[in-house]
């Protein structure tokens, strides 16, 4: 599935139930699943610290570090003012990780 997102920190898009966010991270704009490491909260709505490259999720206020966020990255290429990326929706995706 070819998708694209506006190349701007904080831009979001979705495909079916899957949400994506464009974030300035580790020196460049990247495409991430808009999904907190904890329970899949919407990190696009969280409090970002661009200097430290992290975001506090609005749901339970856990910090997603650069390392956490890079795990959610989908490789992308820039075309004009957009980032293009591939996404294959998993067969079943609960968007939720284990207890904690």
């Amino acid at each position: 599935m070819k998708l694209s997102i506006e190349a701007r920190h904080g831009a979001t898009t979705r495909f079916e139930s899957h949400r994506f966010v464009c974030a300035q991270l580790d020196g460049q704009l990247r495409v991430l699943r808009d999904r907190c490491r904890h329970r899949g909260g919407p990190i696009s709505l969280g409090a970002w610290n661009l200097e430290r490259g992290c975001v506090v999720c609005p749901w339970h206020e856990l910090t997603n570090s650069t390392r956490d966020l890079l795990k959610q990255e989908l490789p992308s290429t820039r075309e004009g003012d957009r980032l293009l990326f591939d996404f294959e929706p998993p067969a079943v995706d609960l968007g939720v990780s284990g207890p904690g």
Binding site: R39, G40, P58, W59, H60, L94, G95, V96, P99, G100
Partner: protein, 444 residues
Amino acid sequence: MTLPPEALTPAWALIQDAPTYRTVDALVLRSAFARPIELPREGFAAVAAPLSRATLFTQRSLVLNQLLFNAYEQSNLYLPRRAFAAEDTAAFEAYYRPELVAALSWLKPTLEASAFGWLEASLSAPPRTGEAFRAQCLELLDGYEAVPSQLPARVRAAKDPKAAARAFLIQLAPDFLSEASQMARSMPGNFGPLHSELTKIFIDEFGYGVWDQKHSTLFERCMASVGLSSEVNAYYRWYLPSSLLMTSYFYWVTTAKHRWFDYLGALYWIEAVVPHFNRQFSALLKERFGADTDTRYFDEHVGIDLHHRRMVLDRLITPALATYGDAIVPALHRGLQMARALGDLAEHDYLEQLAFGDGLSPRPAPAHPGAATTLRPGQVLGPRVVDATQVLHVQRGVLDVQVGDGVSHPVPQGHEVTVPQGRLVGAQAGADGAVFTLGPVAAS
């Protein structure tokens, strides 16, 4: 201001006629829409006279608490798991019949005042400031977590720890099978940023729209994995008055909107104590029912309620105090103390019931005078609370005396058992029927 008794009479008459509350010949219910209540023939005023600590564990209290619980649950939607059979449709429509819902709603303020008034009146004075209240929250929690709960130890020491653990799950069921239905009631409206903070907790409770994560689903799975029915309120007849009271309290403070700050205080406590207790109870279930037991309900709460208790304190109570000032402290305090007191009462009730079951042993005895009851083969005596210690004597046949689901003792002809004051007891006749008396202990 209270409603005059004569204003309640028509509603009471409607309830007495309603098929939903008619008694049924079963101890475990197969429909969420059957809510048998042993409705006394006397007027509503007698049923709904204010409760007290001394009358909480009585038959009248059971009836009052069943009425109140049903009054709230009529606003919850339940659907059968399979297509409606003809009798389901009739029961479904009868249960949600608007006149019946209205009748119970009309009685509700009186029931609520009777059920909760005495307990509220017994609480300690509130702290003077929000700061002091916050400090008290943390102090009470520290105290609670400093010692292990006595309940798991009592379950382990019971004659049949598995049955005791199941019996405890049954007492949690009125609340947890519909988990966060109370919270759902606290959501409509517009109450500013606090509204959004509460929503964050609510979405966890309802599992993010994922059935397998919904807390009520996790509880159903836990019940099923220890061999219990997970159908909604299958064990309704075994709910103790205090378990119903505790569940209803949360419906009350979320339905009566001016009680919202009470709800915050109560919510704090209920979220706060869960991690400590659930860790112990999860271990107990695994130890008794095996490593494969589905304890996710308890495990999930060990984790998520650490967040919830912080969220309630830091994102709901603290900002509410900042906005509304110390004027809300009495309500916050009342809610917290009510949740504590209700938790203690429910634990006491459960442990007394456990002790009753463990102590149940038929002994030979001569018949007692007084009117005997005859049961057909297999017929049940619906669970009831005995108001004073009684003796159940079997004159003919065998009577399976039950203390809870799966906790029973066959009492043969010419034998009797003692039912201690305040305990819930039911029975089912054996294959040849039974004749028995249930009456006061003879003066010796």
